[in-house]
Amino acid sequence: MHLTKVINHQKTELHLCEICAKEAGSELGLIFESSFSFQNLIAGLLEGDTGHSQQPSIAGHEIQCQNCGLTFTDFRRGGLLGCGECYRYFQQGLEPLLKKVHGSIRHTGKVPRRNGGKIRIRKEIDDLRNRLQESIRREDYEKAAYFRDEIKRRENELAGG
């Protein structure tokens, strides 16, 4: 299956996404036949238990990424998102897909060093809160006090800029 798309008079083969589709599909235990296509997979994944596909729309108008112009239908057809903002505009439609492919919708991994400053601090605070709870549960109050101070220090850091 090769999808061909014409962008800026440039023929672009979109079969790359068949690969990702296969990767996603084999996790779901699907059987791949020659008739398999990425759209089928995306469409299939987007169909809920009701069998109706969830096409996010507001008052009858299809949702479109305001940054790159991609519509959700475009995405379903080609399997690729247009830009980072698409994740925000299509959030409702993407969530079930992400859940099915990854079993999760929340990133818990690496945060960019330089540009992820505040995000990283918030992550550290989350982590410290868990450890604080854990040490209170274990009645290790010395550790708990340490974590409490660390949380304060980072909260100040966040507030201070």
Binding site: K5, I7, N8, Q10, T12, E13, L14, H15, L16, C17, I19, C20, A21, K22, E23, A24, S26, E27, G29, N67, C68, L70, G78, G79, L80, L81, G82, C83, G84, Y87, R88, L94, L97, L98, V101, H102, G103, S104, I105, R106, H107, T108, G109, K110, V111, P112, R113, R114, N115, G116, I119, R122
Partner: protein, 357 residues
């Protein structure tokens, strides 16, 4: 940059030349990170100008790097078809990357350990490829390169979804860890399909030697993680590692059992394959991989002692058509390829009796 440096082309990458942990079964380990630049549409939806901007920014960022040594930028458009194939067969880039070469640049380090595909499905695909079983080191090195690039580039990142990628199957960590395994034992006893389909059910992706859809020529399989979101990079890598360990153990057990229970049959198979390889005058690339798989197994098990194990592994790559043509130094028609391939194999296996021609 019109032509690649021929020495550079001929040089085998680090992962082909060297061995290491569990190299009786594991050929190579790879970590790939998908990254995009903030504010620019993903490659499939970007204008030419924007793709050019991406290239310039990434090149600039790579140039700043000194700790990892010098990087060589290769504009795919300016390479010959054979040069492009060499990059694919050395696993420095994906086949899709060279199929549509417009505005695509590959950045490779001298060792051919780190490579960066610019403007593939995502703006950057940073890849670290190491010999044998070394996912930990590959992850560490990938992180170093990623951090370094991030000093000069702003990546498209979201607090909740992580690194944003063109395809939602890569979002989050953008990490794909993969290990290339040589599984002749499991294949011989017809267990490989069972083991690999079991892996597919727990979120592990299995592919042949040259990617999806290709046959596992030479009994080489590539297994990688499916999930990229919801687990940390370390967790994803550890998970794949522990699954690999189990497959490695199974492969070793079967090899031992074969040696114990059907030694003569195994020796016969290995030695016949060695015989054909060291005497043939014409040989196809497919038959070569099939026979080399037997010979590699024989070398690992001590059935064949006259050839170095690493040399057998090297032969699996030197005999690929594109690399073969580079070594011979000219384009070859198929029958010539089969002829030169047989010759190179005879030379490298040190089959001295076979002179003439």
């Amino acid at each position: 940059m019109a032509m690649m440096n021929q020495d550079y082309l001929k040089d085998m990458p680090n992962w082909v030349k060297n061995g290491g942990d569990s190299d009786d079964v594991v050929i190579s380990s790879r970590i790939r990170l998908a990254r995009n630049l903030k504010g620019i549409p993903f490659p499939n939806y970007a204008h030419e100008q924007q793709l050019e901007t991406v290239t310039q920014q990434v090149l600039q960022a790579a140039r700043e790097r000194s700790a990892l040594g010098e990087f060589i930028p290769l504009k795919v458009e300016e390479l010959t078809p054979n040069e492009r194939m060499v990059l694919v067969e050395k696993h420095l880039c994906s086949p899709q990357f060279v199929e549509n070469p417009h505005l695509r640049t590959l950045i490779v380090d001298q060792e051919q350990t780190v490579s960066i595909m610019v403007n593939e499905e995502d703006h950057l695909r940073v890849q670290t490829l190491l010999p044998a079983f070394s996912l930990d080191s590959a992850l560490e090195l990938s992180n170093q390169v990623d951090d370094f690039l991030e000093e000069n580039l702003e990546f498209c990142f979201d607090e909740f979804r992580g690194y944003l990628t063109a395809c939602p199957t890569n979002v989050g960590t953008g990490l794909r860890a993969s290990v290339m395994l040589h599984l002749p034992g499991l294949t011989l006893v017809d267990q490989v399909k069972r083991v690999l389909s079991a892996l597919a059910h727990i979120g592990i992706n299995v592919r042949g030697f040259y990617g999806e859809g290709t046959e596992a020529y030479g009994d080489i399989y590539q297994i990688s993680n499916q999930v990229t979101l919801g687990q940390s990079e370390e967790e994803l890598t550890k998970n794949l590692q522990s699954i690999c360990r189990q497959v490695i153990e199974q492969e070793r057990n079967i090899r031992e059992a074969l040696l114990k229970e059907s030694r003569t049959q195994l020796e016969d198979r290995v030695c016949r394959s060695f015989g054909i390889l060291s005497q043939a005058r014409l040989i196809s690339s497919e038959e070569t991989l099939k026979l080399l798989s037997d010979v590699k197994l024989g070398a690992e098990l001590g059935i064949i002692t006259q050839v170095d194990k690493n040399r057998v592994k090297e032969l699996m790559f030197i005999t690929r058509s594109s690399i073969l043509q580079t070594i011979i130094g000219k384009e070859l028609v198929p029958v010539e390829r089969d002829y030169y391939r047989a010759m190179v194999i005879r030379q490298r296996l040190g089959a001295h009796g076979a002179s003439g021609v």
